[in-house]
Subunit: 162 residues, 4 copies
Amino acid sequence: MPKTIVGVMGPGEGATPEDLINAEELGKRIAAAGWLLLTGGRDEGVMDAAAKGAKAAGGETIGILPTKGPGSTSTHIDIAIYTDLGQGRNSVNVLTSNAVVAVGMGPGTASEVSLALKSGKPVVMMTADKEAVAFFSKLGGPLVTVAADVAAAAAALKKTLE
Amino acid sequence: MPKTIVGVMGPGEGATPEDLINAEELGKRIAAAGWLLLTGGRDEGVMDAAAKGAKAAGGETIGILPTKGPGSTSTHIDIAIYTDLGQGRNSVNVLTSNAVVAVGMGPGTASEVSLALKSGKPVVMMTADKEAVAFFSKLGGPLVTVAADVAAAAAALKKTLE
Amino acid sequence: MPKTIVGVMGPGEGATPEDLINAEELGKRIAAAGWLLLTGGRDEGVMDAAAKGAKAAGGETIGILPTKGPGSTSTHIDIAIYTDLGQGRNSVNVLTSNAVVAVGMGPGTASEVSLALKSGKPVVMMTADKEAVAFFSKLGGPLVTVAADVAAAAAALKKTLE
Amino acid sequence: MPKTIVGVMGPGEGATPEDLINAEELGKRIAAAGWLLLTGGRDEGVMDAAAKGAKAAGGETIGILPTKGPGSTSTHIDIAIYTDLGQGRNSVNVLTSNAVVAVGMGPGTASEVSLALKSGKPVVMMTADKEAVAFFSKLGGPLVTVAADVAAAAAALKKTLE
């Protein structure tokens, strides 16, 4: 039977140092909980940091790449899904995840949170962007949980997925 | 040479009466300016109203459908592009548009505005949703214009496209 | 209501001189019949030749591009649909066409004929590739018509679409 | 680093009893070689049989589904990638596979073999369809290997991937 998959979405080159620390720690927690980690697969930003954390904790990682591959694939990805769909792959990211965590914010991440809500997927947000929190909390209602730190994000995932 | 295309995005069943009036009037203005109108193609909400307006003013309409077709296609669509991509088609909507207008707000619309900004496309927003305006104005910076009414939206398009 | 669309598929750089002559003449016939022409949109091979023919006869042309655009778009395309889906756009090509004509043969064209048959779309084949004719005739049964020349292809389209 | 993935493609409901036996045995061989198995993910035909074989031999299985999920997913799939792309997902199947095996033949399978050749991927064919063998051998040249039985298919994969 299919395993539980948690998607961690966030900026590539636009990620802040805090985003990277949070993503790596979150990757560890996801692996420790026995879930698979899914990211956008590239070797940058939140995607790369989350995958690094999951591997450090002995987890398994899936990357849904926008390209034909294999360039720009994170070295921390076990299963590289090459889509050649560009940003069209963002829809695949969220449909494949049982829950989505957004670490940081940017246009690509915003599209993924939006698509997750469109599909009725639970979303956990970790970001200092107050406007993003206000907008998506209103847009998603009970589907959205705002987490102040990684422990809160992990707790929200456990509550949703178990 | 390819013609100029303006995409009008907005909710289907979640559209407000004001959204529908704005979308229809905007469709007329787009046709009158000699631009092609692009929508998500379905027979509902902002998509249907904008296409109705464009046809009333003698324009040409393109619908990018999420389905295999032809069910649920607006009767006001001239060129129906059937993608069977589900919400993955939202990326096609914005990449094909030279500029995007968001009339109203919802999860699908939010994904389209986000993807438009990700691709560097100009976006005009017409919505009473203050949180959406605050979030996307910050996210998109100079790419985003907030229009108080249809005349302002049409003026913003002219400034961008001509 | 949506207009009738005929898709003309065929090789880009691998097209033979005969393929190009056939594609251009077929584009003229499609326009003369009042149908819209759809191609893969690029400025090469069968795609470009068919669009050139359709424009010469006063028709309207749609290109479904694999890219974000606008580079490599045929100058004979009126409506450029930018998908950024790579070869994933081949599925859009056939779902959007009411009938498909394959002029010449190659791997991309073979995928489009296959997808057309998968979707139950009528296919007309114009190719000197005997193995292709034998394979697709068997695979598609009554959906496939083999045309010896452009006149026969146009007649097969008329029979199917009118 | 990403693991090696072998895609097994073939008909769903149109699979023959021989196709099913071959697919299941091939799934076992792929798992025994330490490769991941990729299929179209559904609970039918070659897709289901190959995944069943791989799991029986202790392997790991990936399914690239055409749907939003989770209905129709094979119980033998570990990692279910939900694309909602319809047949557009066929491109993802082949781009993600390091090599593709076609067991049996049908329109969907033909599109996958075609797309694999378009992307320069090695293809192994196991089918009694002589026209398919003749066509794809000509189309793909050295990329295509025709295997008389599962042992020959496994040997061809080893030669290609190791």
